[in-house]
């Protein structure tokens, strides 16, 4: 049996979980799904889900990774699941890590390719923030796997399943909820969020100072964009870390990313690889960013940007 651990957001099955459901048929045998808290079983039918295992413990309605991990561990054991699949999300990776530790099981996270060869699953995982891939094998039973939702498009099964709901009981103590979510504090959002901006202007070491970022702010203002930076810019204190683009920062996907004085280290580029266009401004013709950008301008950004801003102002009539 293959168990798919699915997640819902505001009552709706997440798209990432649809990706996870889509790979389940590859492992052969019946597909069962499991969700914590109340879950809509109907939406699971098209994915060939035969049974929906419902863990009847209302305490799990609030995120509690320790208790959830224990519940998942118990369900995997009692239902004799051979393979467990989920989407590679922060919550699923955390919960499956806990289940894996309790069972002393193998767990491959962030998989981008999977194939089954008898008792072995051959897999490819996204590593280094997605700039490189690891090939590995998972052996033993059960095998826990989370899949990178970007690598597997949601796909319905050839035949729908009954998605029959079956209550499963798990034994959880109050102590298992010791690290449950306590509260949610509202953050404040200022300006255009970097992650969803249509235009991003980024600055790196080549900016030279915190003050120099005011020209990027000005250009971003004119183009309705957001300002970001490299790790050098955040490490130097020129920008706050929330503006960092890259492996350990934010992933951006704008129509246009204008990267100024940024060399193009792979850890930076994985953060902007979903940009439709990258215009790189760099004074070094050998800078790696010119290998990954769609457009390049060679030269000193301190000359180019003010001249560009003048022209943009003319067009905008400001």
């Amino acid at each position: 049996m293959t168990l798919v651990y699915v997640e819902y957001q505001d009552g709706a099955l997440t798209e990432a979980s649809q990706s996870a459901l889509s790979v389940a048929s590859m492992f052969g045998g019946p597909i069962h799904a499991m969700a914590l808290g109340s879950a809509d079983a109907e939406v699971l039918k098209p994915y060939g889900v035969e049974k929906v295992l419902h863990v009847a413990d209302d305490r799990l309605n609030t995120y509690a990774p320790g208790a959830a991990g224990k519940a998942v561990h118990q369900v995997i054991s009692s239902q004799s699941a051979e393979t467990v699949v989920a989407a590679s999300t922060a919550s699923a990776n955390e919960i499956l890590s806990r289940a894996a530790a309790l069972g002393d099981w193998g767990f491959a996270s962030a998989c981008t390719e999977l194939s089954v060869d008898g008792d072995v699953v051959n897999l490819t995982r996204a590593i280094w923030g997605g700039s490189l891939f690891q090939e590995a094998q998972l052996t033993g039973s059960p095998k826990l796997i989370t899949v990178d939702p970007n690598a597997f498009a949601p796909q319905q099964a050839t035949a729908p399943g009954a998605a029959e709901v079956e209550a499963v009981s798990v034994a959880l103590d109050d102590a298992d909820f010791v690290d449950q979510l306590k509260a949610v504090e509202k953050g404040e959002q200022q300006g255009i969020p970097l992650a969803s901006a249509k235009v991003v202007i980024g600055g790196g070491r080549g900016m030279g100072s915190e003050e120099a970022f005011s020209i990027l702010e000005e250009l971003a203002g004119l183009l309705n964009g957001a300002v970001g930076g490299s790790r050098v810019a955040t490490n130097n204190g020129w920008r706050s870390h929330s503006d960092q683009i890259g492996q350990t920062g934010t992933q951006i996907g704008p129509d246009v990313y204008i990267a100024c004085g940024i060399s193009g280290a792979i850890q930076h580029m994985v953060g902007c690889k979903n940009s439709k266009n990258i215009i790189a401004i760099n004074k070094d013709a050998e800078a790696p960013i010119f290998q990954r950008a769609s457009h390049g301008v060679l030269g000193d950004l301190h000359e180019i940007l003010p001249a560009l801003i003048e022209e943009v102002k003319k067009v905008k009539g400001v």
Binding site: W105, F107, L132
Partner: protein
Amino acid sequence: MDILVCIKRVPDTGGRVNLTSDNRQIDTSNMEFTISPHEECAVEEAIRITEEQGGEVTVLALGPEGTTEQLRESIAKGATQAILLQSDDDNWDAHATAHAIINAVKDKKFDLILMGNEAADLGQYQVGPRVATMLGVPCATGVKALQFQDGNAIAKRQDGNNWAVFELPLPAVVTVKEGINKPRHPSLRGIMAAKRAPLEQIAMDAPAPKMVHKGLKLPQESGDQVTMLGEGAAAVPKIMETLKELGVL
């Protein structure tokens, strides 16, 4: 408060990555090594906490001999002890790594164990929660703000625009993300002292992974060529044209 920080030595790859001829690892000739920004912040956080509250910081790394460089750098910043679990093997999955860490520290007492949310290279998102579960202590992951109140760790992680708040009795495991603090640079004095600091070295047996490492694969290059728009301020008309074509002007 006595704190254990787990760090990992990884190559500082820069702009281009080549693989070794057997495609098993990154070709690190002419490369420097570093630790993940997340773990650098874990070290910083630990040093800050002990500066405020007293206690000692132990850094632990599982890796090859060269890892002493990253351990000494942490000592130079203010960690008091370092443990190297020495292994040249490249087949340590999260399961085997968590077991090795637990084994090494089972006779020691820590109030807090700090790790990165995910390692820079393998990024399994597992070692922290696995260690916590095996020790039977609470855990919070992806933490970007950490405080202490009445013997509890108040750990916050970003959830979109909101903050998810967890309150963990100690001892606990907390995995952090870059941005929780701004790591310091080691002082010259620290660097000199770290050179002579004793390190505890434990030679490791070959790992018994559940996920067996087979090799690495580079992503497919798009093959698209960059369109050069010109040099210096003379390129501005072309940039303007491009911005119009791309629909942002």
